[in-house]
Symmetry: C2
Subunit: 245 residues, 2 copies
């Protein structure tokens, strides 16, 4: 297939994706749509390849009904064939940094690492503990902020490695996966609605999530009805958000 | 085109996208690749349709070289044909809420709004000022947190509407646009590398961004060389991040 066609097709997928507020409750969605979309989402880029996110696929009627209630009873949630809760797991950074280092080490097959691989290992084993480590009161975060911004007076440096920045980084990576998921569903001719106006505390309780987990968004999935899209797409003019240098 | 083909093609696009660390500096990338990817990104979903993000396209050699230096001199940045700085603009919430309300009002053509439209207008004109308004010391945020979590004892409610949550929401939406951008570039047969290890303070100064703007990520764009991808794709097992209910 020509690159041109592929690019046009991608734009069609993007065009197809709208926030759908009403799904066809009589339609029986094939199992593999969400499965395929999750497999695609797994390949989304993630900060330092830590993959600090999870997707909780809610199909069973009992849990789905409770979850829809925690999405403030929004129509999209109530009529969805499936609901997917995207979750961040910043608390897993240590385990995943170790996992990355081990994967890299095992790929060496006993050979001496070259400079690039040495760099990657130092990143996961030395730099990352400095970047991610924090204490409950964020005192470490404060001192890192001071240190980095002092260095930053003299040369380019990353600036913020505190608790909040770690949360933001995890939510960003989860969103990269979430958008891959939504576009994949659109590529299969199905529909989604991303929802952020939800009760994260009760959702965490429902899904038995640990303290360190955070709800990124809930995505409703299904087949749109003719009333599913509320109105024309509203976007600011491109020159309001795009600038060329 | 059949849905099946479209879905397979989407997976191919996702497969093509890797973090490319070395771009072909002799390749002259067509102008329209980034342009098309930005047009696709504009259609990404955004929280409450506020579109609180910007993309700064850096093509000119002078600015690009300075920017690459602020990406800590990473190879991806130094060899990229273009660099795109994704920025959040949480500070524009009021202007954009007003823009949405006006667009909805003008779509009425003088007719009486129905219940759905009344709801949307109340959302932008009444609920959103409550959700987004804050003071520099986050005192309002603290009282909103107390209020919402007291209500939350008795019924489902959104919980956090403080300064940090607003930052996270803006970064999430920017990431949805960023991933759309990266996949669109991949659909055109080109490559990207998302970078977060950058100096946001100096980048804001370089691009003359206001205090309220934040750097979400910098995306390097170009044509990969044979050394562009460092190694095989490493992903945790699907059952580590996906759970079915």
């Amino acid at each position: 297939m020509q690159d041109k066609n592929r690019s046009e097709l991608f734009s069609e997928i993007v065009e197809h994706r709208r926030a759908v507020r009403d799904f066809d409750t009589t339609h029986s969605m094939p199992e593999n749509i969400v499965e395929q979309a999750m497999n695609d989402a797994l390949l989304a880029p993630s900060s330092s390849n830590l993959q600090l996110w999870e997707m909780h696929r809610v199909k069973s009627d009992g849990v789905k009904e409770k979850l829809a209630h925690l999405c403030m009873g929004q129509g999209a949630a109530k009529t969805a064939s499936e609901l997917v809760v995207v979750v961040t797991r910043k608390d897993k950074w240590k385990e995943r940094a170790k996992w990355n280092a081990e994967k890299i080490r095992s790929s060496l097959n006993g050979e001496e690492p070259n400079e690039k691989i040495k760099g990657a290992l130092a990143y996961y084993e030395k730099l990352m503990p400095f970047a991610y480590f924090n204490d409950p009161l964020n005192i470490t975060g404060f001192f890192k902020y001071l240190l980095l911004n002092t260095i930053g007076l003299f040369r380019p440096t990353v600036r913020r490695l505190g608790h909040t920045e770690g949360r933001i980084v995890a939510h960003k990576s989860a969103a990269l996966a979430a958008q891959t998921f939504m576009l994949s569903v659109a590529a299969s001719g199905y529909d989604t609605c991303p929802m952020e106006g939800v009760d994260p505390v009760r959702i965490k309780r429902l899904l038995k999530l640990p303290t360190g987990a955070e709800v990124n968004m809930v995505i409703a999935v299904g087949k749109r009805t003719s009333q599913g899209v509320y109105g024309p797409r509203l976007r600011v003019e491109a020159n309001q958000v795009i600038q060329t240098w």
